[in-house]
Symmetry: C2
Subunit: 471 residues, 2 copies
């Protein structure tokens, strides 16, 4: 007999975790919705050709491909054989596989916009919260199935969109009660300017890759890598000066201005960062935005402002969100000139941060609130009427499934963390009353049938236990 | 340049459909929760061996298998070659694929219970609402990716659980406002008794398969099929009598009693149906349950009461839900003797029924409620403060992304169905006022800055447009 297990890098979520994750999703969704974003859902499977070639060579290797159906069918031998030959020759084969699992939400969104652009009204603001799959080596905090929560605005070059995203990050982290988060901001234009003044445009990728590693490997190793990538010593000096820019946002802007005054694209980048900072300043609730010129966001397709949200410093967690502006979302799919800007929330990491800081409100606990004991067939029938009435009033209620010793029924309530037990036995039937015990407080009372529902509804509706269950 | 498309049998869901589907999910979830069920989520991928052999030969063929990763890697040639040989030899190969996509929610649930039974408290009541994937030939109303919504109670033989499920069906359809749904009920024990008296136990499968086709092929062809399957003519006569049982529930019970009085298992089945009908009778809100002895529920693993929920008769749709009792959920996974009962809602079909009968409430429309026009940089900055304030009050609000002609901004509001536009231009800045127009009613007014947020919040909160967005 097989011992059951689940694939490496995947997870089951029990009720407690589902409820907490739902709280995060609901919070993010409510902010997206109130800011005018519309939901979109795309299929888990995409055509292989939609995904391949979009994530770089490394990304392509991590795409989960789905075996074509009917492969095991003997009449399909030839097809399968042909498919395998192609695979063995190192070519991806549409005979063995022509579908794959979603690797992120951006490419499916681009595919959707390209397919539907004639019907959409631009700027098009969509959000999407769905799982993605990556065949990455599983490790602590890295899963093969995980959710992404994205919001994008496409069809607009206006920087007001970036400002909106600063506020969205702020609103989400504020509503989740995550203190001390930090939103870092930079511009790819400034990185482009840095490349211009340290060896030319063609060095942009090399410089970006090296800078992106700063957090992990430190300045000395970044310098070494720049040297290996053919950057000249005095250019490395400029990059070092750049990476060491520090201080308040104002001080940083002054320093970068000095470094980049000769570069048109550099000045443009500085102007954009200044605009976003100015516009998002709010006297009542200032978002915690700081310029970080070392922010590079890997090799993504970003071309303008880039963001990274960092977890509170006391937690070694790093990025809990990120995003940026891109010039051409749908060019891959034959629809050019749709620029946009988008952000993403890292729900798994946000979950870990909130667990570690114990930020989940008790009110999302959920679960059954009242258990009626089963004291026999007649008694159960009487109790069942009150079970229904309480459920209609939004109170999660159960009737124990069998008439057994009270101890056993009590134990069930305790194990499930049900706070209130209600007993209607033969004597209660005669008196038309019910014995009600609050397990947490130990308080026990007898309530007449007439007042049972109204009393319990009032008690439980005003306790923190009930919210989230009503409705 | 490739023309983008999505795989056959899959769908993109735009905002309108996402919101309507979410309304159905939320309604079902609220009923599950209030009845004491706990949420569970399992991974999209399961180990292939968890799924294979659980759905019959036909089912096995419809499982989407995931190609092992690293197959395209040249160093893995030998492994791949070995894998293909096995595939070509007609053997499933764990070298080519060892993971597959979830085919239903029951087997992953069984796998979960088997893995965690020592930690769970029984009876264990879980619900699960996730997509499943089947390589079925796509056709109208049949998709390769679709959601299932299941609730199960395991670890209890008590019929009170079946009664609870009757009420759950009733509560869900009542909350969704689906009039004229019908819940049909039968027992596999009665079908077993029918086999006993018409040729013996070993005919149960043949008889079940034939009866299951009654709706599609009609009585004459069912009789023909029974004949082909070796049922004797006088036994076919009994089956015909059985299938023609008609009338009220009471009349049907009397007739079946007459037919099955010699069968112990038959009497047990009748007793159970009688109990469930009696216990679920409610004077205030009687669930619409009718006995249907022709109900068979295919070749599933059911052993007791079976359910099928039918769409309102005026809609040719058939089953919108089903379920039943099983004896041994986790035996496959080495943990015997966990009986249970479960039901499922067919969300795609419920969606179609509700669309056809126009049952979705207008309040779930969602979308942006107020658009502030962009009248220049200073004006926008002033407007943006009110955008924030309205958002904090739960009103979905946008600021147009660029300062262009009013006509263009107005058109955006119209296309997106935004009911209220707000304009703050230079003159308004001086007067500290804002012009507010309701596009639907045509009413236009000027509101002082001080009253803008409170007035709009009050107006929109009391209109049906707002609910679902406040949170």
């Amino acid at each position: 007999m097989m011992k059951p297990s689940i694939p490496q890098g995947t997870r089951d979520f029990g009720s407690d975790v589902v409820r907490k994750r739902r709280y995060i999703f609901d919070t993010i969704r409510s902010v997206f919705e109130v800011c005018g974003f519309q939901p979109l859902e795309t299929p888990a499977m995409e055509n292989l050709e939609t995904l391949m070639g979009k994530y770089g060579d490394e990304g392509d290797k991590l795409i989960f491909k789905i075996l074509n159906n009917g492969l095991d069918n003997p009449t399909k031998h030839d097809r399968a054989q042909e498919g395998l030959k192609k695979v063995l020759a190192g070519k991806s084969s549409d005979l063995l596989t022509e579908r794959a699992l979603r690797y992120d939400l951006t490419i499916p969104f681009a595919r959707y916009v390209a397919m539907n652009h004639a019907q959409l009204s631009f700027p098009f603001k969509r959000y999407q919260m769905q799982p993605v799959w990556r065949a990455d080596r599983p490790q602590r905090g890295r899963y093969r199935e995980f959710y992404q929560c994205d919001a994008d605005i496409v069809g607009s070059n206006a920087l007001i969109n970036e400002v909106d995203f600063v506020h969205i990050y702020h609103a989400v982290f504020q509503r989740l009660g995550i203190p001390g988060y930090e939103l870092r901001i930079n511009s790819r234009k400034i990185l482009a300017a840095l490349a211009e003044i340290t060896g030319g445009k063609e060095k942009l990728t090399a410089i970006t890759i090296a800078i992106d590693k700063l957090d992990k490997i430190g300045l000395d190793k970044v310098k070494l890598e720049l040297e290996e990538r053919g950057i000249l010593p005095h250019h490395i000096g400029i990059i070092e000066t750049y990476l060491q820019i520090d201080g308040s946002n104002e001080v940083k802007l002054a320093q970068i201005h000095q470094l980049m005054q000769a570069s048109e694209i550099g000045k443009k980048g500085i102007e954009e960062i200044t605009y976003v900072l100015d516009q998002s300043a709010s006297p009542s609730s200032p978002p915690n935005v700081s310029i970080d010129f070392t922010l590079a966001r890997g090799l993504d397709y970003y071309t303008g402002i880039i963001f990274e949200a960092k977890a509170p410093q006391q937690i070694k967690m790093g990025s809990i969100g990120g995003g940026g502006r891109y010039d051409d979302l749908t060019g891959f799919f034959g629809v050019p000139n749709i620029p946009g800007v988008g952000i993403s929330f890292g729900v798994d990491r946000i979950f870990d941060v909130m667990e570690e800081l114990q930020l989940f409100p008790e009110t999302i606990e959920g679960g059954t609130q009242v258990l009626f004991f089963n004291m026999g067939e007649q008694e159960s029938k009487a109790a069942y009427g009150y079970v229904h009435a309480l459920r209609r009033a939004g109170i999660a209620t159960e009737l124990f499934h069998e008439s057994v010793k009270k101890e056993k029924q009590f134990k069930y309530a305790e194990k499930k963390g049900i706070p209130v037990v209600a007993i209607i036995d033969g004597e209660h039937m005669t008196n038309r009353s019910c014995s009600v015990k609050n397990i947490r407080t130990g308080v026990e009372r007898t309530l007449p049938f007439d007042l049972l529902v109204s009393t319990l509804t009032k008690d439980l509706a005003t306790s923190p236990l009930s919210s989230g269950l009503k409705n």
